[in-house]
């Protein structure tokens, strides 16, 4: 199993203002192909900073980071951008879709910034295919404002997938969603993982982390636990359970 992410003794110090903030203090981590990993921790634990470092949005102050066997340290701003475009897919807590832009056009976006020219028709086909993967093939012409939260997040996932990334990064993907929609979105992630896509997500919800295969807990910029998930939840089962409970609830109310 070849490693996609290799972190060796990564440090990140923010030098803003008078006090230097040591957000990440020596994290070493390896993520292999096909993994489904959740990073947990309280706010201020450094998990978001680590996420930004892995996502090539930021560079470590110290340490070696190899993404898909490329040393990130020596790369410039534009090269990092290319790396993000090729190797990574981002899903954010706030969905971060472009408003007044159709789902399809949102999904096409990463291809517009790809280093290889993609024709308009190919672009459309790939975007549609990506939307179908997350079950939104019939919503391609909808604007984000016409979609529910779960659907918007699925569009965001489709966007993250469209360039066939080596790693899917999700920052609190269920943070803005209710529990049922959260299960729905986690279902999408599980499906993608089963199809072979490596996923790394940040969450502070324990039950959400239980849908993953491996959990990492951070505190004060360090990894304090790294365990495989033993009692893994299956989104399909959970969804069925939720629906049954809902139906029972409705029945009791009616009677």
């Amino acid at each position: 199993m070849s490693a996609i992410v290799q972190l060796q003794d990564i440090h990140k110090v923010y030098d803003s203002g008078e006090v230097a903030v040591h957000a990440v203090r020596g994290v070493s981590l390896t993520i292999g192909r096909g993994e489904f990993l959740a990073i947990m921790g309280a706010s201020g634990s450094g998990k978001s900073t680590l996420m930004n470092l892995i996502g090539c949005l930021d560079r470590p102050t110290k340490g070696v980071y190899r993404l898909d066997d490329i040393d990130v340290a020596g790369l410039g701003r534009d090269e990092l951008a290319d790396l993000r475009n090729h190797k990574l897919g981002f899903v954010f807590q706030g969905f971060n879709l472009l408003s007044r832009t159709t789902a399809l056009e949102n999904v096409e976006l990463p291809m517009l910034y790809g280093r290889h020219h993609v024709g308009a028709r190919t672009m459309r086909e790939r975007a549609l295919h990506s939307l179908e993967t997350v079950g939104l093939g019939n919503r391609a012409d909808h604007f984000p404002s016409q979609l529910s939260g779960g659907q918007q997040q699925r569009v965001a996932i489709a966007r993250a997938l469209v360039n066939e990334p080596r790693l899917l990064l999700a920052d609190e993907p269920t943070g803005n969603l209710d529990s049922k929609t959260s299960v729905e979105v986690m279902g999408v992630f599980q499906q993608l993982n089963e199809a072979g896509i490596t996923i790394l997500m940040v969450t502070h919800e324990l039950d959400i982390a239980h849908y993953c295969k491996r959990n990492i807990v951070m505190r004060d910029g360090r990894v304090v636990s790294d365990t495989p998930v033993t009692q893994r939840l299956d989104a399909r089962v959970e969804m069925k359970r939720l629906l049954t409970a809902e139906a029972e609830h409705q029945l009791t109310e009616q009677s």
């Binding site: 996502g55 701003r77 993000r84 475009n85 971060n96 472009l98 990463p110 517009l112 910034y113």
Partner: protein, 402 residues
């Protein structure tokens, strides 16, 4: 470089906020329209002035008598009695490049016909006068060289005189009396309208200059000599030759005549209207700059407002220069679109002004080109700062921006 992609992105962004895009363009639309309209009006005015000058006649040189002094009182230009029909004849025969010459007499007098009377300008001319002034006959014909030689009592009359004395329209073949001498009306002249000194050029009676000298004014000397040169480039040369000739004919006496040409007059008049055009154009240009500042303002607001969007784009792999190109393209598209619409509007406004007020307008291709290039340049210039600002954003902070 993925230029097409950037264009697509820019157009999508502009389409997302149609109303704002339209309002932003409005500044440029108005600016460009104002430039086009004012320059059109200015050019129209210039063309009209040039037309009026041309209506005075083509390549005209005039000789006026000099000043006279009587009892210490100096009479001013034209007061001397020195020019003779022989001078005129000499100019025609001896100066090369002179196409036509008309010895001229002018005298105001009462004219009677049909029991009506009218005070008008009686001009004595040669038959060539009409061709010099480019003044066609509307009805009837002109008197001939034969009429000049025989001091004939014949006349052609202007439209105003014809209307005043022959209200029934039977002027040709009729008789008018000047100082109690009957003159037969041979023809009526085409309407020429007012000259730019405000004189009604149609309020005139033209008779052979010989008849004028002998029968009407009873003088021996001409008021002026009107000369047509063959081409505008030769005017100054011919003018000099006329001066030399007349001087020679006066065998060393003090010059008692002046020779002038129409080019100087034309230059002064066109200069005035050109100054007006520049002035109006400059004012309109200011509004273009104001429009440009409007674009910059909106682009700055747009960059701030779309910080998150910029963050997303950067996060999924946009280069800084692509973000910059996007915003620059947006502002150039806005201003170029505004420019095109402004050109259409400006042309429309010019046509409308011609239609409603009867102002002459002349839409110049140069003005259109300059306005369009300038508006695009405004877009680049005022779009540059906001675009650079957008390109330099940090993706993490931009994504966190609320």
């Amino acid at each position: 470089m993925r230029l097409t992609s950037t264009l697509i992105v820019s157009f999508r962004a502009l389409r997302r906020n149609i109303l704002r895009s339209a309002l932003t363009s409005l500044g440029i639309i108005i600016g460009v329209a104002a430039v086009i309209a004012t320059v059109s009006i200015g050019n129209g005015a210039k063309a009209q002035v040039e037309g009026q000058i041309a209506s005075l006649g083509q390549n005209i040189i005039s000789v006026f008598p000099g000043t006279s002094t009587a009892g210490g009182m100096r009479g001013g230009w034209g007061s001397a009695s020195t020019l003779t029909p022989e001078d005129a004849q000499a100019i025609l025969t001896e100066v090369p490049g002179v196409v036509a010459v008309s010895p001229e007499m002018r005298d105001r007098s009462q004219v009677l016909a049909n029991g009506l009377n009218w005070n008008t300008m009686i001009m004595g001319e040669s038959p060539d006068y009409l061709s010099i002034r480019v003044w066609p006959i509307a009805e009837g014909g002109m008197f001939t060289e034969q009429d000049v030689r025989s001091y004939s009592k014949v006349a052609v009359i202007g439209k105003t005189v014809a209307d005043q004395l022959f209200p029934d329209g039977d002027a040709v073949g009729g008789t008018i009396r000047i100082r109690n001498i009957p003159f037969k009306v041979l023809g009526i002249l085409e309407t020429k309208g007012f000259n730019f000194f405000g004189q009604d050029q149609d309020d005139t009676v033209i008779i052979p200059y010989t008849s004028h000298l002998r029968r009407v004014s009873r003088r021996q000397y001409l008021n002026s000599i009107v000369i047509q040169a063959v081409a505008p480039e030769q005017i100054s040369l011919i003018q000099q030759q006329i001066t030399d000739l007349l001087q020679q004919r006066r065998s060393g006496r003090e010059p008692d005549f002046t020779v002038r040409n129409q080019v100087e007059l034309a230059q002064a008049a066109t200069e005035t209207s050109r100054t007006m055009t520049w002035l109006l154009g400059a004012i309109a240009g200011v509004s273009l700059i104001v429009g440009g500042i409007g674009i910059m303002n909106i682009m700055l607001v747009s960059v701030t407002e779309r910080t998150r969007e910029i963050g997303i784009r950067l996060a999924i792999g946009a280069h800084g220069k692509e973000i910059m190109l996007q915003f620059l393209t947006e502002s150039v598209v806005l201003s170029a679109f505004g420019g095109s619409l402004g050109i259409a509007l400006g042309i429309g406004a010019s046509k409308l002004m011609t239609h409603l007020n009867g102002w002459p307008t002349l839409v110049s291709t140069n003005a259109i080109l300059i306005a369009f290039v300038f508006s695009a340049a405004v877009g680049i210039f005022f779009g540059f700062y906001p675009a650079r600002k957008a390109a330099q954003l940090d993706p993490i902070e931009a994504l966190r921006y609320e």
